[in-house]
């Protein structure tokens, strides 16, 4: 019986001109979004790849100089684009794309691509995620808002119930039929997406089949939730009109208001420092010490005394190693400590803000699916911070190697230059994106929230169908 109802529902949907037009529009937009996402991905990854190679070659070819001059010359780290960005570009237009790895300073990431874009771009880019998060739900609403109210208003609900069909069967049949109708849209879209990903498949950037499957399942949970909600509202509403208006209102809150409101909540719960006070705090601590009472010269003096004591000599030229290297490395390490405190705190706050968005998925499911989608696509704040961290680790490695060379291979006060033999001791910067497990452990709440939503909306639908009375 369920099958009969489902078949009837699906057939009705396919025959509905509105759905056909809507589906064609959504499918067309999805196709355009995927194509442009693909273009964007391949352009950026090609240029960043070339830039990474160029910066490395320049590092090796920099000629003879003092290792510390080379440290100041430095290299650049360019953030790679992940292939799944063709599904969800996340925050990638709003984060800097490269940083300069030089001595002494942890530099901020520069050039947010959105700064090169027009103000109108703030309306939002057309990406597959926009289509999946905003448009498909609206299509589901338009498809299903009258599923139960319509039967009641047409008087067919009385017939259905009178023919002895159980209410559970009706509910199941309706849900199955609508899903079947929708699959006419979702299945080809998923196929196109999968094909695009196969083309883009790039193991080095951590895109695995399991990531794609998880991504797809987050959207399926979301669509299920929206379908459940639509049917539930249709079962509980007085009339088709009330059902439609309520569902549009829910859509507005869910799709339009929630990201902005969640930003306000996150901002007020975990405020970020201003760029000015952030810089000033770091500079103060570098100059006057983390406790505020150990200025640079005092720290230098203490270091010198301890190094001299450790080697049992009483002046710097008597040391078997070059003190300049030791002193440079010590100041690097002190600065690293300061950076870890401040950049670490900043990253923590951003992560907390991100968690606020995710947790607010309890109120509007869009926030949960958005979080899961960006996370699995590798375009969220977490992935950006992961790259920032990796680049900084590489910067520190470069300093350790170069300062170590000064310490071991040169004499205090001499003019010391080296060449490619030392530059090549620095390994090329290779980036390992976070493994799926770490993404999943972060996004587990999103999945739990989405599953709870699905369950709840299904339950609300079931209850609604059981209490609905024919007119």
């Amino acid at each position: 019986m369920i099958l009969t109802i489902a078949r009837k529902e699906a057939r009705e949907i396919w025959r509905d001109g509105r759905f056909r037009w809507g589906a064609v529009l959504v499918a067309g937009l999805l196709a355009v979004a995927l194509i442009s996402g693909w273009q964007n991905y391949s352009d950026i990854s090609a240029s960043h790849k070339a830039a990474t190679e160029a910066t490395w070659e320049r590092w090796l070819d920099q000629g003879e100089k003092n290792p510390h001059s080379a440290a100041h010359y430095g290299v650049y780290a360019f953030k790679p684009m992940t292939p799944l960005s063709l599904v969800d570009q996340g925050v990638s237009a709003y984060t800097g794309v490269f940083t300069w790895l030089e001595a002494h300073n942890q530099n901020p990431f520069e050039y947010r691509p959105a700064q090169d874009g027009p103000a109108l771009a703030r309306f939002g880019q057309l990406t597959a995620s926009t289509v999946l998060q905003l448009l498909v739900p609206l299509l589901i609403v338009l498809l299903g808002f009258s599923a139960i109210t319509g039967e009641r208003e047409a008087g067919t609900l009385r017939l259905l119930l009178g023919s002895g069909i159980r209410r559970g069967t009706i509910a199941g049949g309706k849900a199955a039929g609508l899903s079947l109708g929708l699959s006419a849209l979702v299945v080809p879209a998923a196929a196109v997406g999968a094909l695009a990903l196969v083309l883009a498949a790039d193991v080095e950037h951590g895109v695995s089949a399991s990531r794609v499957v998880m991504l797809a399942s987050s959207y399926l949970l979301y669509f299920g939730t929206v379908l459940g909600m639509t049917l539930a509202v249709s079962a509980w509403a007085r009339s088709s009109r009330v059902a439609l208006l309520s569902l549009i209102a829910i859509w507005i809150v869910n799709a339009l208001l929630s990201p902005r409101l969640a930003s306000d909540v996150a901002r007020s719960l975990h405020p970020l420092p201003s760029a000015e006070s952030f810089r000033t705090a770091i500079n103060d601590e570098l100059r006057n010490g983390i406790d505020g009472h150990s200025p640079q010269d005092v720290r230098q003096e203490a270091l010198r005394d301890s190094v001299l004591a450790a080697h049992g000599v009483d002046s710097i030229p008597q040391l078997p190693v070059n003190y300049a290297g030791i002193s440079l490395q010590a100041s690097e390490e002190y600065a690293n400590h300061v950076y870890d405190r401040h950049f670490g705190d900043l990253a923590d706050r951003m992560r907390s803000q991100e968690a606020v968005h995710r947790t607010l998925g309890i109120v509007t499911p869009m926030l949960a699916v958005r979080s899961a989608s960006m996370g699995l696509s590798g375009t969220d704040v977490f992935h950006h911070e992961h790259f920032v961290r990796a680049a900084e680790e590489h910067r520190r490695l470069i300093q350790r190697i170069l300062n170590g060379d000064i310490e071991k291979n040169s004499r205090f006060g001499e003019t010391y230059t080296v060449g490619p033999e030392v530059w090549s001791q620095v390994p090329a910067f290779t980036y390992e994106p976070p493994v799926l497990a770490s993404v999943l452990s972060k996004e587990a709440p999103s999945f739990v929230i989405l599953a709870a939503w699905l369950l709840l909306s299904g339950l609300a639908f079931g209850l609604g169908v059981h209490r609905v009375a024919p007119e």
């Binding site: 509105r18 937009l29 309306f123 939002g124 448009l135 208006l245 902005r260 930003s263 201003s274 704040v381």
Partner: protein, 483 residues
């Protein structure tokens, strides 16, 4: 007759609680959105104040240091931080701030203000001081955009119009009153016009009073000199409301049910405010893709290296081109080193400039393309107009950026001349370091005003086209009276 319909509609709106519902939702919404924008505005004011304070402290310190050195009270510090040498002054000790204070109406639309800095510190250091000014904001929040008044207008106002208008005629039909109405000696045009006017007045009245109150209570400052800007704001919002009301009327005369009308209107809204802008964006970025700035860094570094290798030659060539700047005797020590590295820097600037310009041109073409197509969607026109009124649009930031670059060029010339001449930097020079002329104009500038007016005209043309369509169709429409 029209007045009577309007009055009757007003009574209906009051009686069926629409009016109260609107008041209860719209007023808090405006208050919240405005407070949000005002918080951003005051944070920007604070930043500008801080930057200007730092700027004068920096110059005062420089002056004091120079006087102390010149009077022999203290010994000159090492060359890289010696204020008596122009190079360190240009690099850090005497840098100048450029600021863009938020306009009085900035709180109504944050616009691009969360993405672009409201200041830049100009020095001789390479790179774009505007794009490189650090800012700290969660990218997730940049992506979402602010919940400001412009958001309420562009996205939510149409939804309010649709919610009080989707049953304009269909509701009367479903209630059985349309047949009664049409038996009266009442042209259907007058009926529709009366219904539209009542809704227009109620909705806009609430919105404008709430906004003006917010502006006054929020301390937007000297509103009188900005009266024309406030007037333009009201005109743009009115035209936008009118447009949506006419859409509502056009959908209603098709004689469908209220549900169908709601569905159609929601779709139109979705197409015009979400789908079309996104589609235009994607077209513009595919047509004029702005390549990643990563390539620029490569060019910059390569130029720097080549220039460094021929540093001495460059300096000689420089003196040949500018004999007036050549020192009497080419001094040894830090001066000649500075002069050489200055010549290198100049060369790098020269090589990199066209590359940078290419990025800017590409971005400008993209912007131009979008600006041309904005007439397709009223939402795009309104967004741009509201940003121009608030002074947070990309054009104003672009102008500020150009001013920053002009100051930078002036500053580099000022410092560079002293470096290559081998002059010392003296306390008398401090006062002549190029300074930024802060924009203190009252009211919108001519460019912004004309952009707003163009958008306003665009909106009105769209509205007039709809009105024409409505008037052409009304007499021919057979009003279905039965649901």
């Amino acid at each position: 007759m029209l007045a009577r319909i309007v009055f009757h509609e007003w009574r209906v709106l009051r009686a069926d609680r629409t009016l109260w519902l609107l008041l209860a939702v719209l007023v808090p919404l405006v208050a919240y959105a405005y407070a949000n924008g005002a918080a951003w505005q005051s944070s920007q004011q604070e930043i500008v104040r801080q930057v200007l304070a730092d700027d004068s402290t920096r110059l005062a310190t420089l002056s004091a240091q120079l006087l102390a050195i010149e009077s022999g009270e203290v010994a000159a510090p090492p060359a890289f931080q010696n204020p008596a040498l122009p190079a360190p002054v240009g690099r850090s000790l005497g840098t100048r701030a450029a600021v863009l204070p938020p306009a009085p109406l900035a709180a109504t639309s944050v616009g691009m203000g969360d993405l672009f800095p409201s200041y830049a510190v100009v020095s001789t250091v390479s790179g774009d001081p505007f794009l490189r000014t650090p800012s700290i904001e969660n990218p997730l929040h940049l992506l979402a955009g602010r919940f400001d008044l412009a958001f309420v207008i562009v996205f939510l106002l149409p939804l309010f119009v649709l919610s009080i208008g989707y049953g304009l005629l269909s509701q009367e039909r479903e209630d059985g009153t349309l047949a009664l109405l049409l038996t009266q000696p009442l042209p259907s045009g007058t009926l529709v016009a009366g219904k539209l006017i009542a809704r227009f007045v109620v909705l806009l009245g609430i919105l404008i009073i709430a906004t003006v109150l917010a502006l006054l209570l929020g301390g937007a400052g000297n509103l009188l000199s900005w009266a024309s800007a406030v007037g333009l704001w009201i005109a743009v919002v009115s035209a936008y409301t009118l447009f949506w009301l006419l859409v509502v009327a056009l959908v209603n005369i098709r004689g469908r049910s209220s549900s169908e009308n709601a569905m159609t209107l929601a779709t139109v809204w979705l197409l015009l405010t979400i789908v079309l802008p996104a589609a235009l964006n994607i077209t513009a970025s595919m047509r004029y893709p702005v390549p990643s700035r990563a390539e620029m860094i490569g060019v910059e570094r390569e130029a720097a290296e080549e220039a460094q290798q021929q540093g001495a030659t460059l300096l000689a060539a420089f003196y040949q081109d500018h004999p007036e700047l050549a020192p009497d005797s080419v001094a040894a020590g830090p001066t000649s080193f500075s002069a050489q590295s200055w010549a290198v820097q100049e060369e790098v600037e020269r090589v990199v400039a066209p590359v940078r310009a290419r990025y800017d041109e590409q971005a400008a073409s993209q912007r131009e393309l979008l600006r041309r197509f904005r007439f397709l969607s009223p939402a795009l026109m309104v967004q741009e107009a509201l940003q121009d009124i608030a002074g947070t649009g990309d054009v104003r930031y672009g102008e500020f950026r150009a001013q920053v670059h002009a100051l930078r060029a002036e500053f580099r010339e000022f410092i560079g001349a002293r470096i290559v001449r081998g002059d010392a930097f003296t306390s008398a020079d401090v006062a002549s370091i190029p300074a930024f002329a802060v924009d203190t104009s009252d009211g919108l500038d001519a460019g912004a005003t004309s952009r707003v007016v163009v958008n306003l005209v665009g909106l009105l043309v769209l509205a007039m086209a709809l009105a024409g369509l409505l008037m052409a169709q009304l007499p021919r429409v057979r009003m279905r009276v039965r649901a």
